[in-house]
């Protein structure tokens, strides 16, 4: 498969990951507007920093990453993956069962973000010429059992 095809898949998966996160966030908001609202430092941080806010916010960034991946698969997919990581780290160590459902909402975005990274990796692998051609090192050891 060509690098451009892999790049296309990476972009599509990245954009879909973002849409899945936004969709999940909007659905969660419709069911429970304050879903996953944190209370850092004794303050109510409101909807912007809630589980819903994180899903939609990171979702938007992932969509942007996916769109960038059409032109630059490595850059775009990296943005998508990092946004998914930030979203997941946000749910870490809450110690509250109420946060577990937020993980379910992240399942599809995580999987699609991972696929985006995989396709971008394949695109890069197909595009970059590795060492070993022409004057680069191409000699190998064929005596595994010998003492150096």
């Amino acid at each position: 498969m060509k690098a451009s095809t892999f790049g296309l898949y990476a972009a599509a998966c990245g954009a879909l990951a973002g849409l899945a996160a936004i969709g999940g966030g909007l659905y969660a908001h419709s069911v429970q507007p304050q879903f996953g609202t944190p209370g850092f430092f004794g303050l109510d941080w409101g909807v912007a920093f809630s589980g819903v806010g994180m899903l939609t916010g990171m979702g938007v960034i992932m969509v942007v990453g996916g769109l960038l991946a059409f032109k630059w698969p490595s850059l775009g997919a990296s943005i998508v993956c990092v946004a998914a990581m930030v979203g997941l780290v946000y749910t870490f160590d809450r110690g509250d069962g109420a946060w577990v459902p937020l993980l379910y909402y992240w399942a599809a975005p995580w999987l699609l973000a991972w696929l985006s990274g995989i396709f971008a990796g394949y695109a890069l692998h197909a595009r970059v010429e590795p060492y070993g051609n022409g004057g680069s090192p191409a000699v190998r050891n064929t005596t595994a059992g010998d003492t150096a």
């Binding site: 060492y131 070993g132 003492t147």
Partner: protein, 471 residues
Amino acid sequence: MTTELLNNQGLKRVRMRLMTAVIVVFTLTCSGSFGMEDVVSESGPGFTLLMILILPFLWSVPMAFVASELGSTIPEAGGLYRWIRRGLGEYWSFQGGWWWTLSLYVDSAVYVALALDYLQNQYEFDGTTRALIGIGIVALFTFINMRGLDLTGWSLTLIQIGVMVPFVIFTILGITRGEGDPFSPVLAGDSFITSLNLGLAIMMWMYSGWESMSTLSGEIENPQRIIPRALMIGTPLVIATYFFTTLAGIMAAGDGQWENMWTGGGGVDFVEAAKIVGGSTLGYLMLMAAILSNVGLYAGYLATGARPAFQMSRDRLFPRFYGKTHKSWGTPWVAILIMGLVNAILINFNFDALITIDVFLLMFAYILIFVTVIVLRRREPNAPRPFRVPLPTWALALWVLVPIAIAVTALFINGTDWLIGGLVGILTGPVAYLIFKSLYKGTKDEALEGATITPTGDLTEFGAKVEGAQA
């Protein structure tokens, strides 16, 4: 340049005796039975002993056999990283190597922290002393590892003598003097599933590490012969060690005391059980064994954990300085030193959150290894396999499906934070590949340093070409 490449990438091969190799395998996969106490109280005494006997055939024996076959077919530095590369290509090999390295950077520091916990509980010193002792342990074994595998092998041998002598005495006394019933009750919980959950997760951890020694292949003479034999000897040895020491532990703890068996203070662990049947002297010896066990695990995983990063660097997929070798000692000293430095920093902080990436990343790397062996069987049926799992490919595929299923199950039974940490860790793989591949470009399969045969398995033809090139 040519001389260096033909000279095994600057790595020195040591003549490792089979017994030393067995001890290395034993260290990486067992190193005493500390931790098994938690399985007893979580799963029940009878079920624990049953799992010790059955789980290996579903989990660790497949890995030991697969590691033996792949290690004999591809006896190259970096071990599992190079196996996956041959089977699944550059991208997945980087993922496997990356996940494995990331996991071991954190995991190895845990063993130093555990050794320090045992010491601190006994001698009650302050945080500064703890930090200094920890850094001292890390520095000592980093130096030993940098000096080479012969010295590492010797140190692991001494450590395992210190671990196993108290365990042998304890096992004899526990079985002869203990009053606990090792088979009753069978289950700890109300149901099989409840009893299985946490016990299985710990047991899988206890039975891991069979692939680790492969990473040292580039620094051992005849690795394709020594490592599979060490794995085949080590497998029953580890099972027997776990079974008899745990049996003795349950009996030594006393009648009905299995519920109170756990590590971390307050419960009946092996140290307390040793005091019951052997007095304070045996208790002290067992404490020293616990410390040495963790130190041994650290030394072993420092050795194996540093190698994939070294090989990835030589394959131009990791920062170039990682690939430096010591001119006199013939070891990947920079990769070892960096790992030691990271460990020295980690042990002085609370890195509980980082530990959560461990299981998940290792399980994914294991899955890649199991897939690789099947792919290579199909793609390169005639490649030289000095050790071959005595099963046809379809049967091998069915066999490895079991540990894959267990690995997938394990991803979800360690708790929510472990799942989140693991999912985040997995996503670092593609990002790291995109960065390092862009920076360093990678190396063509045909130009890989230290490879023994071509990806198509055509050793003779390739060897002739190299000889022609030299001439």
